[in-house]
Point group: C2
Chain length 393, copies 2
């Protein structure tokens, strides 16, 4: 039986709410109009609330990688060193960007799935000269690992000339992260993850410490000129033609987050993550990360299961698009997504697809096992206490 | 926790696929244009395929009830008698329509949930004078009961002057019903059920026997003038301005049915209905109908459960809109919908919602019970045989 419908359940792009789709589905607005300026300014205001900051926050028309490139090219001079945490595909991206822009990468290599020990960052800073910044992922999406960004911020804040540059592409909108309080100098995110908008927009928020650096580094990009963008965007417009429809969509999505309340949004993600982990445990599968993130759950498959076939089968048979592993994890893991416009039923649907696939491959009926565990966990967490049942379980 | 999203899971209106929503979401097309004529003609062609007929089939801009009224007012003269099967809310509607148009209703009253015994129809025909037609629901949506329309058609076809008029609003697109072969003289459906389009369109297909009657009965409606509509629609246009956007949407939906194949569509509905019943059985709940239909599953609730609160709680807590009972079944049943753009995961979502609600009310953890049973049944039916598991269950 061919799947009737397709369900996008990847850790980005994620499902887009109808409200956002409708906002996007209109003629473009002229980007130099007063009408757009109002929407743009409001979007920036809501983004600052998301980052829990008043500092300069700008939107780039690019993928998240564009914002990563902008951070490296605008904040480092050739020959500068950067401590880089590489524990997955997106850590590798920082390394490749450093190489492109002549920045010396001091790599903390982690087994994929591990999180960094913040003290190792301090050691790298102390043992190397000319370290101008830390480049890290708050959540390494490829492994589902969370890095203790608060503890790292405590360390980097001790150094006047070291910037903490955090790719929070699958963290902002999943967690409630106060960037000022946690000393994140450069916070980066994208439209297509927890912000429930199609891909095409990146967001950067910068501390005064970062802005000082900006003014000192010689420009190496025309399109990604952060100083120019800050100057323009403070006046309510972008330097170049922005993706106006996506910004209108992002504005709607941010209003939804505002209505739900950032604390509630973060709590929802935490609850769903815990339900996902409970479901996986019930299937006797193992999580890849030691310290799992709340937006994506990466799960190891038994060695005899080909993970690429596993996710392809789920897509071909059931129209559910869940992500497999990347690079050397290809074929070895799958990743459940519970980020953005996702509720318990969307998570249960993913678990059901996994149960169907496991049953088929293992010839052992897994039906309902993880669903039951995730539902139990859900009610326990929503009630904020274990439930006493009348008739036993 | 407030629900993040709403999921429409009622037995009409049903979920509308994105393809259909997109087709509807454009400026209206001029209804006298060649462009619209082409779409309209193609829509009629596809509707004939749905009814498995070549006979005249027309679209009315109205709800399904409009088509029911059109059938009564165009095909009966005051003083005629009609045998009516009343086993639910929609059977009652036939009775009310008869009273409105001076038709004498000869009622076969059924306990709600029961299906008619076709031989009882023969008896009513034989024992009454001037019976000009049978008015029946193929599926009585309010109870989820299926009537054996094929057996009834075998009976009515023996009588030259008795029309079988079947409300198939929740039957066409759920089942593969050949209206000619089964001697259904007037087949009625609506856009908002298995045809996956928003409400606003009704469809009537008429046999030569019905058309002969049409020419003999004095007109009692201007808007619902079936002869006039047939005459116009044969030329590719409607008598009055039709809901052009809905017709464009219906055209897209019918293309989807064509692509999936009517046999496959019907098989999918049958499989989902059986999965729903397996799930309900696993929860130790009882079906309302003796002969359950494939589009909707009506389930009795234990007496101590208030069904209205039950479905409200599911809606308020989880954003899942499932239907309760109507009339005297209000508060006593709930109805799962598996009609139209619905797959196994949509059904499982409904079962999960029911499990959450039962667990809360009964203080007994139902989690995963019906999900497991429905998943097992699904794989068994899709594989067309019971599965032998390697490790046991």
């Amino acid at each position: 039986m061919k799947p009737l419908k397709e369900r996008l359940m990847t850790p980005g792009p994620t499902l887009v709410p109808e409200r956002v789709l409708q906002a996007i589905s209109s003629h473009p607005v002229y980007h130099r109009s007063a009408e757009f300026k109002e929407i743009f300014t409001n979007t920036i205001k809501l983004l600052k609330k998301l980052f829990r900051t008043d500092r300069d926050t700008i939107i780039l028309t690019s993928s998240g990688t564009g914002a990563m490139e902008a951070a490296v090219s605008n904040l480092f001079s050739p020959g500068d060193s950067a401590v880089i945490v590489v524990g997955g595909k997106f850590g590798q991206r920082w390394e490749e960007l450093c190489k492109t822009f002549g920045v010396n990468p001091i790599v903390i290599e982690l087994e994929w799935g591990k999180s960094v020990n913040p003290e190792d960052i301090r050691k790298k800073i102390e043992n190397n000269k000319n370290v101008k910044g830390i480049l890290i992922q708050i959540c390494e999406t490829s492994t589902g690992a969370y890095n203790d960004i608060k503890a790292i911020g405590d360390i980097t804040s001790e150094y006047n000339d070291i910037l903490l540059i955090a790719d929070g592409i699958t963290a902002f909108g999943v967690y409630d992260i106060p960037v000022d309080e946690w000393n994140i100098d450069v916070a980066i995110t994208g439209s297509q993850k927890a912000l429930m908008t199609p891909p095409g927009l990146a967001i950067i928020s910068m501390s005064e410490k970062a802005k000082t650096r900006l003014s000192k580094v010689e420009k190496r990009s025309y399109y990604f000129d952060l100083e120019k963008e800050i100057k323009n965007q403070l006046k309510g417009q972008t330097a170049y033609t922005p993706a106006v429809n996506l910004i209108i969509g992002l504005n709607e999505a941010l209003k939804m987050i505002e209505e739900e309340g950032l604390k509630n949004v973060a709590e929802r993600h935490e609850i769903l993550a815990k339900c996902a982990r409970a479901g996986i445990k019930a299937l006797e599968l193992e999580l890849l990360p030691e310290c799992p993130a709340n937006g994506v759950t990466a799960v190891k498959l038994p060695e005899h299961i080909d993970g690429q076939k596993f996710v392809s089968w789920i897509k071909n048979k059931f129209g559910i698009v869940i992500a497999g592993g990347q690079e050397h994890l290809k074929g070895k893991i799958f990743r459940l997504s519970h980020m953005g416009y996702i509720d318990i039923f969307d998570l249960l649907t993913q678990l059901e697809a996994v149960e169907f696939a496991l049953t088929r491959i293992e010839m052992y009926p897994a039906y309902g096992k993880s669903v039951k565990a995730a539902m139990e966990k859900y009610i326990e967490l929503v009630h904020h206490k274990p439930i006493t049942y009348r008739k036993g379980s």
